[in-house]
Amino acid sequence: MECSEALDLLYESFDAQITPAQAALLNGHRRTCFACAGTLAKAQRFQDLIRRVPQLTVPRGLEARVIERVLHKSANSFSQQMKVIRPAFSWRTALRPALASGGVLAAALAVFFIAHSMLSNTFHRPTDQTVVATVQGSLQDVAPNKQTSEIDSTDTPLSTGEVLRPIGALPAIVSITPHLALIMSSGSEVQVGKLHYDQSSGLADVIFLNLRRGTLRINEILHRDVSPVQVATRQATFVPTGTTFSVDAKTDATDLAVTAGSVAVHMPGRVFSVIAGHGVHITATDVVRNVLLGKHPKVNPLP
């Protein structure tokens, strides 16, 4: 046994992580190797020192300061949200005189067409596999039945199996939840591989995206307990943990750049993580880590 292996084994023994056979090997090494006897003895003292590290007490008044600041700040942001919401109510207010002057027949027709439209949508889109996304920019949407439509409005339903492509030279921003935005570059193509909408929580809890080509940037401001989104390319699957990152998929390689938080990279036979400020270039044969030099512009999800 090498001395460095003995040191690692000793560390692991402090954690109760070694088998009896490993313990016997370690003890044998300790008895016979004078070269590392000092290091191992110091490792023991080091562990004793760690155990004596005292737990810190909280500075006086910190809890009160936290409560005051958080509740005050949230109250402010709530009043700002109310200001944003008001235009929606003014639209409804503006519609009222039209309904009144149009009479009962016009209202009935409007209700009929709206209901018909909603029912036909739900027929094609299972509610547990559909979210209403906010789209900024123009997208082409190809449904699983190959029906193609253009999306350039705000609220649009997205379902499992749909394929999205930005139209024109500008990127398209798709806000799937209030905390999660996808920024699709021009020329990119993303298929919604799997999507699940949790009716009880009112949130999408699974969003698997297949990036077929181009660059997709994910901006997840919120730190969720479990991130709903995963992005797959030919080379790997990327699982964020509340973060900002971009994936650039080419035919024979994928580039990942992480600007906040961290991303777990799942490849056949290995899993590793890439943290903020770092990137990775993945081909069929190589994985090359690199440090990011430039910063990506920050794009916030739409409210």
Partner: protein
Amino acid sequence: MFGLPLAVTILGAIRSYHLEPVSNNLDVELMTKVANGDGEAFAELVKRYTRMLYNVAYRYNASSAEDLVQETFLRAYQHARTFSGRSKVSSWLYRICVNVCLTHQTRAGSPTMDIDDVNEAELLVREDERPEVMAQRGETFRALEDGLRALPSQQRMVFILRELQGLSYGEISDVLGMNEQAARTNLCRAKRRLQLWLDPLLV
């Protein structure tokens, strides 16, 4: 040989118990109330978890510990609706806190380091900050904390969560988004570096 690991496990559990209130239905109920904007429930959450989070934030960045704790609770309050109950409240808060710490470090202009990116030369410090000098001043624990801050961020966080907070490898894996083996490897590397740094004190 096996008495010691058992003692360590028990010690870790005790340490963890003191810092993390046991997550139960009460916690889930608390989070539901917080999600509905209940200020009193939020105050209770702050009372239960401030010490736990402060210990992590302080060990990660002492000078900004208070700000990091405040930011953690702010995010928790704003996004309480996303707590699904699948993980413990403490794990959820730890994860937010870790993210806040990493983001803070990135914004502050000192980039986070990845495994293998740090060389031994980074452990060299000024003469008056050497551990033996600190030991003469009776600042053993400060020497440990300073050594901790010289570690790459992932190693530092694994060390804090495992050795100082008493989390299991499963929980660390959940909080940091790395697999358990990676957590073990990071811990071994952190200990090697810290032991080297503290060598003069370990006589």
